[in-house]
Amino acid sequence: MSFILRNIRRMSFAHWKSNLLIFIEMAVCTAIFFIMLHNYTLAQHTYDQKLSGTVRAQRVAINLQDVTKFGELLPGSTLYDVAQKVQRDILESPDWVAYETFSLTSIPYSRDGFPTEIPEEFMEEFGYSDFCDTLLRGMLLYSPTYMTQNGLRVSEGRNFEDADFEEIDGPSPVIIGSELSPYLNVGDVITSSNTMDGINFFDRQAVVIGILEKDSFTVVQEGDVDINKTFVLPAAFADQGGSEFRLQALLSGGVIVPHDKNLDIQDKLNQITAKYGFYPFSIQPVNMNEVIDATIVSQKNLVLLSVLAILTSSLAILSVGTVLLRRTRKDTPNICIFLMSGIPLGKIMTSILIDLLFWGSLALLPSLMLSWTEYRAFLIPMWQLLLFHYGALLITYIPIIPTLGRINLDYNIRAGGE
């Protein structure tokens, strides 16, 4: 057995109290850091999932104050022409980005119209099963702006472009929710069938151009809408591409995202309606509260957790460092005996370092066990935990180096007898 091993064994017995203290402190400190890191990772995940991109500024949905007036908006009427002017002003205003809300639709689905069988959970049950096997969830859009403004991105294929919303021959483009990706690929063509709500879907085709990113969702006044099981299509697919549908989708639930958060949107809208003598709008914030709360809470938590982690680790480093230094000072007579016997300082320092790393490594176990029993997996990036843990340990070792480097052998040997 070499000197290093024997000395470590000696120190393990001789300094067991110090070692126990080092173990406990490092275990607690690393566990706290671990929990911090874990929460951080979770918060980060939530953040990525809910708040990705910078597009989700405060936004409002607009509606006619008197919703019964929609009945008067018949194509060809004077009011309809006025409404179209209002629509153009809203869409083209330099003060904001405006886009139409989506509408939901059901796509009659016949099993032979799809390349692959799609499981039940993707179906909407409306009891129309005598028309077709069942219905799929569809979301109709009027412009690609909806996708960009809601941070909806594709992980495969491409997103919508302006051209997709123009009159097109052949199959309509469709972007599918991520959960549908096992059943359909980019390029697959689906064929709808049967009649639904008076629309003849027979032989209507759509080609998959993209797959939405995982965990995509969109926000409406009522909250989040999960669109991972949904087919997203231009409204023309369900015969709703006409200008009257587009008008309605803007004036009733369309969304305005101001460039300047402090902009008085109501006032601007009043100016537009007054200009054309149109019915006034009311505005209502789109329910982003949940999301905003989540950001604030997680940001607060992150700051709090970071402060706590820095505080505990500083304290632990300070106290482990002190314990280690005191332990080494107490061991000076023995270290001097080693030096007298011709054992190099480097080896003595190495044995102290290895001893520290050994007890320090044991202190990792509680955190690893916590991770395993709690989550059945090492959820957090291991390297961060290890970097922190061993970084802290190495910092506590630093004061040892000058202390041993300055050792006065003559003085200590003379003091040996006392």
């Binding site: 070499s2 000197f3 080693f338 016997s341 052998l409 003559d410 040997i413 040996g416 007898g417």
Partner: protein
């Protein structure tokens, strides 16, 4: 040729105007295989000289020649390397590691030598046998008598067969019988060719040496 030659060596403790000169322009020679006693009054600098010879401490000025070659010790590590090659120490208070067994305390001396592990073991056991402490090999120093501790310290000093053994009042803490035993061992080593320097203020011990080097204060 002299094995160790110190020329105009000076050493003082403390700094600035608090500096206390202990050795001033000291010349000292030690021949290979010699048994030398260093004597002098208490505080005359015997331990200081011995520590300078063993590179435990460093002189302020003067030259240190070992085998005709000038040595410049600057750090603890220089001293460690030098001792590992040539010199063993025996001190009055034994300087044993209390948490090591007698066996390990002796083995310590061989760790930095190129000896193979099984040879180390053989050598240690031989030396323990020779000093009649083989049956104590698994005991710890606090369980030993003063004489047994000193024999352990001697075993540690001689196991790697150094050219010189430096002993600072090796019998100071021992009774008459143990003192005689220790001197017998040192004389035996001397007879085998090991150089020995003993610091002592006991004239009887000095008389047993080949030569006496007397330090006078200042």
């Amino acid at each position: 040729m002299a094995l160790i030659q110190l020329e105009k060596l000076s050493k003082s403790y403390g700094r600035g105007n608090k500096a206390v000169p202990v050795l001033i322009n000291l010349d000292f020679t030690f021949n290979a295989g010699e048994m030398l006693a260093i004597t002098g009054k208490s505080g005359s600098g015997k331990t200081t000289l011995l520590n300078l010879i063993g590179a435990v401490d460093f002189a302020d000025s003067g030259r240190y020649l070992f085998n005709g070659e000038e040595k410049r010790f600057r750090s603890v590590s220089d001293g460690v390397r030098f001792r590992a090659k040539h010199i063993s120490f025996i001190v009055q208070h034994f300087a044993l590691i209390d948490d090591f067994t007698v066996y390990e305390n002796v083995l310590m001396s061989l760790w930095e030598t190129p000896t193979k592990p099984h040879e180390r073991k053989k050598k240690v056991l031989e030396v323990l046998e020779r000093l009649e402490i083989l049956d104590l090999k698994d005991k710890y120093p606090p369980q030993l008598s003063g004489g047994e501790k000193q024999r352990t310290a001697i075993a540690r000093a001689i196991v790697r067969k150094p050219a010189i053994i430096l002993a600072d009042e090796p019998t100071g803490a021992l009774d008459a019988a143990a003192e005689k035993n220790t001197m017998d061992i040192l004389k035996e080593l001397h007879a085998e060719g090991t150089g020995i320097i003993i610091v002592t203020h006991d004239p009887e011990i000095a008389a047993q040496c080949d030569r006496v080097f007397e330090l006078s204060k200042g």
